[in-house]
């Protein structure tokens, strides 16, 4: 096994057990590999989260289900089930598990944005959800 592979595996294990800060650090590092000097932006994250996309007529925005304020709970637009607030300061489990965070980014970006989100976009959205409103 190459040292780099081992490092990646270790980083993966570490990230799945760590908090939102570590998940963000992981996305930042991935984004910086593609565009050196990358810095996440609350404003860009908010814009992505609130933008009306055209991929889905029933779920046009992230806020359609999550609501406008990440500190407050949302409601699933199709099933009506309550969705806990996204801000980790309000719901500590939020964005703390890399595998779970990845699963939901994959599903929801495909659904709402119409494609998978980039690491930079995920870093922006996580930054917004951690700090926003």
């Amino acid at each position: 096994m190459k040292p780099a592979t081992l490092l990646l595996l270790l980083a993966g294990f570490w990230a799945t057990t760590a908090g939102a800060g570590e998940v963000l650090a992981r996305y930042n590092a991935e984004a910086a590999q593609i565009s050196p000097g990358f810095t996440p932006s609350t404003a860009r994250g908010q814009a992505l989260f609130q933008r009306a996309w055209t991929a889905s007529s029933s779920l046009p925005r992230c806020t359609t289900c999550h609501g406008e304020d990440p500190r407050r709970p949302g409601r699933h637009a199709i099933t009506g089930k309550a969705i806990q607030a996204m801000q980790p300061a309000v719901e500590p489990a939020r964005l703390s598990d890399l595998a779970k965070t990845e699963k939901w980014f994959r599903r929801n970006c495909r659904e709402v944005v119409g494609r998978e989100c980039s690491s930079a976009e995920k870093a922006d959205v996580v930054t917004y959800l951690m700090q926003g409103a």
Binding site: S58, L59, H76, I78, T79, K81, R106, R107, N108, E111
Partner: protein, 155 residues
């Protein structure tokens, strides 16, 4: 088997028959992946509410799951599918062509007295069992735990 044993067995059968009511849904054994994955967007619907074929229909189209992307990694999907198949309903009354529980004869019969305005204004989506079945999140659907939401008659 002596007479006492026979009587005890007979009593057990009678007792079981008396307590299983038409509206009861068999309790679902614990399965962490099923309860965490299937209860993210709605309560985890009991496996007994669809046939094994119905569940296979549901589980083979998770990327387009009744209007939402609910895709899973292959390992989790196979694990949950096996669990659903082994606890699926056997009766034709829980058969559904498109995998919708609301499409089964059983569901329609059980809910035939619920007025359209209650569905529309009170329940909002039939996906939301817990709108009336107060124990739904814990897998309980008996008639003793139903609270129909109040809706205005003018709607």
């Amino acid at each position: 088997m002596n007479i006492a044993q026979t009587l005890i067995s007979l009593a057990a059968v009678l007792f079981a028959t008396a307590t299983v009511r038409a509206d009861d849904i068999p309790a679902t054994p614990k399965h962490p992946a099923w309860s965490s994955e299937c209860a993210s967007c709605h309560v985890a619907y009991p496996p007994a509410l669809l046939t094994a074929a119905g569940w296979r229909t549901v589980m083979s189209g998770l990327d387009k799951h009744y209007g939402s992307d609910a895709s899973l990694d292959d390992k989790t999907r196979a694990d949950i599918t096996r669990f659903l198949e082994s606890h699926a309903g056997k009766s034709a009354r829980v058969a559904s062509k498109d995998g919708r529980i609301t499409g089964t004869a059983w569901f329609r019969h059980e809910h035939d007295e619920v007025p359209a305005r209650v569905w529309r204004a009170g329940v909002k989506s039939p996906a939301q069992c817990e709108a009336c079945h107060t124990g739904a999140a814990q897998g309980r659907y008996s008639e003793n735990e139903i609270r129909i939401p109040r809706v205005t008659a003018s709607r």
